[in-house]
Symmetry: C2
Subunit: 339 residues, 2 copies
């Protein structure tokens, strides 16, 4: 193999949302796997809102990506050479393979081998990947939904939100989505089965929530941490659970932005807010993926993808997420080379 | 009985902390109990921080006390006449008997008959009343303490906080109290067994917390909802539980004050904040009071009382709580008359 592997490196640390100029693309020789290593040719690279945290120097749940290192990501690809047990050329795998064409890794970096499910392999990074799992554990473990309860979801048409809304419906709940713009709200009700979708850019959010949630909000799955969240907290039902999953509305956490204090809402409604990190549930991924796969195969869990072609799209792809450019799970597709 | 009964009525609705001028004291004839009613001569009236919420017109967990009505309170007294089964003259009872000398109530208003425990009857309104129960359910049910964990308590020398710290020690935790002034911090370590007490008025709170909680804060029992709480949230350990019990630092919730957004701390630490209303646990009061009584009798759960003599002290007593005038549970003692 004398092919080259293009890699996206972190060039500088962004102060807020990572921008294209914080990355650079370099050409490296394709590595040879050492003993115990697996060489994977990536086919899809994931783009996540959480990447903002991964490149931030501020204390986080993971070590920050080092300057000059390959950008951390989940990716899915095909094993081209293996010197590790359990993997062989031709296997499709997903794992921490990074924003690069070729990843040479130890098996610990691989999350799973994809089964011959008949589902597109891109689903391994979205509805059957971190996004579906985040929705699954956040809604079911922290939210503990009961039939007839009202579940409100922000970024409702997004890769995580769309799964939350549909799992809520599978569990017999009323699902209310909040999204920006007519295209996304239409997607919420027509593709993802939300009972009501609220356009926070066009509607009076407070009035719309009151109308959509006459019994109050039992579960709020939040990806925003801004004005949308502030509005929903005013409508909590007694005993409500708020799942804190993402903070898309906050451009920068340094300094920490101010917002209305939540203590009184939590106290009066005996409600809880709890942060979710899906990786804490890793031991249960296999069971969750099995159940999610069944729902996808049965047509009960639908998804949208927003696919950008070519690794040169990666550097600017995170900023686009925060602008709301995408409709569905954002992925970078790499053409499978002849190598 | 031609005696008169003095009552404290709510005269006007305060905008923030209730002040003496929001109440008036009137003389009424002592009522005759109708069929099914119990007449109680109150001996102790409770003064609670929560009374601010009870007299507020802003949505709350209970109907606001009406203007012109007797101030709602828990009180303890002696039955002087009963036309209800299960109660007879001479019984000591505690319940929703109000700020008045005589209460004529149906049995539903009575929480319990006091047993001949040998403990002072005033304990029924503090360590064996709402305060002890709040500490008990908040720390044990929401906090779920494990031995060796670090429990931080604000208003640590107060009627609730002092119980939280001591129950934390009973459960094998490290207890760190935050209180204002040397007298209170000394009380924390000398009377209530805290491992460390931080004087938020004198110490650098952030540095003191870092020193007192090298492994981070596993459980934070908060009664303040202000700058103290903001400081503690920076020190949460992974998986921390924050019990939102009171909001003593917030002078008014209208408009809702701003504070640093909590979402990122909750997310990064996978922590939860949950509101506590002790009355949700009413079905389990008897078991909890039994266990608390055993701890008190065994000298493992100590308490302080701040007793004001005479019903004329009641109107100004809530404001004094918020000024931090009291050391221990604030009560109004009414002399037992000859009637």
């Amino acid at each position: 193999m004398t092919d080259t592997s293009r890699q996206v490196l972190l060039k500088s640390r962004p102060s807020g949302i990572p921008q294209a100029e914080n990355f650079e693309i370099v050409d490296m020789p394709v590595p040879e796997p050492a003993d115990g290593e697996v060489l994977v040719r990536n086919l899809y690279l994931s783009v996540e809102p959480a990447m903002r945290g991964w490149v931030s120097a501020v204390a986080n749940y993971a070590e920050p990506v080092a300057i000059g290192a390959v950008m951390r990501s989940l990716s899915t690809g095909r094993v081209v050479a293996s010197r590790a047990a359990r993997y062989q050329a031709g296997d499709l795998v997903t794992g921490w393979l990074g924003w690069q064409e070729y990843a040479c890794v130890r098996p610990q970096a691989i999350q799973r081998k994809l089964p011959a499910s008949g589902l597109p392999i891109s689903t391994s990074l979205g509805v059957l990947g971190l996004n579906g799992l985040t929705a699954y554990f956040g809604l079911l473990d922290i939210g503990r939904p009961k039939a007839e309860q009202t579940v409100v979801v922000s970024t409702a048409a997004g890769a995580v939100g769309s799964c939350v809304g549909q799992i809520a419906k599978i569990k017999g709940c009323r699902a209310v989505g909040i999204a920006g713009g007519a295209t996304k709200t239409q997607l919420c009700t027509e593709a993802f089965g939300y009972d009501v979708a609220i356009d926070y850019k066009a509607d009076d959010l407070d009035q719309a929530l009151a109308a959509a949630c006459p019994q109050g909000v039992d579960i709020y799955f939040d990806n925003t941490a801004g004005a949308i969240s502030d509005a929903v907290l005013k409508h909590l039902a007694v005993g409500a659970r708020v799942i804190v999953c993402g903070t898309a509305s906050v451009a920068s956490w340094s300094p920490v932005p101010q917002g209305p204090r939540v203590e009184r809402d939590l106290l009066v409604k005996r409600a809880s807010m709890q942060g979710l990190l899906v990786m804490d549930h890793e031991a249960r991924y296999p069971d969750a993926i099995e159940e999610l796969s069944q729902w996808v195969s049965a047509g009960r869990l639908r998804y949208r993808e927003d696919i950008l072609d070519g690794i040169e799209q990666a550097p600017g792809a995170i900023a686009g997420l925060y602008r709301g450019d995408n409709l569905g799970k954002r992925l970078i597709r790499l053409p499978e080379s002849g190598s």
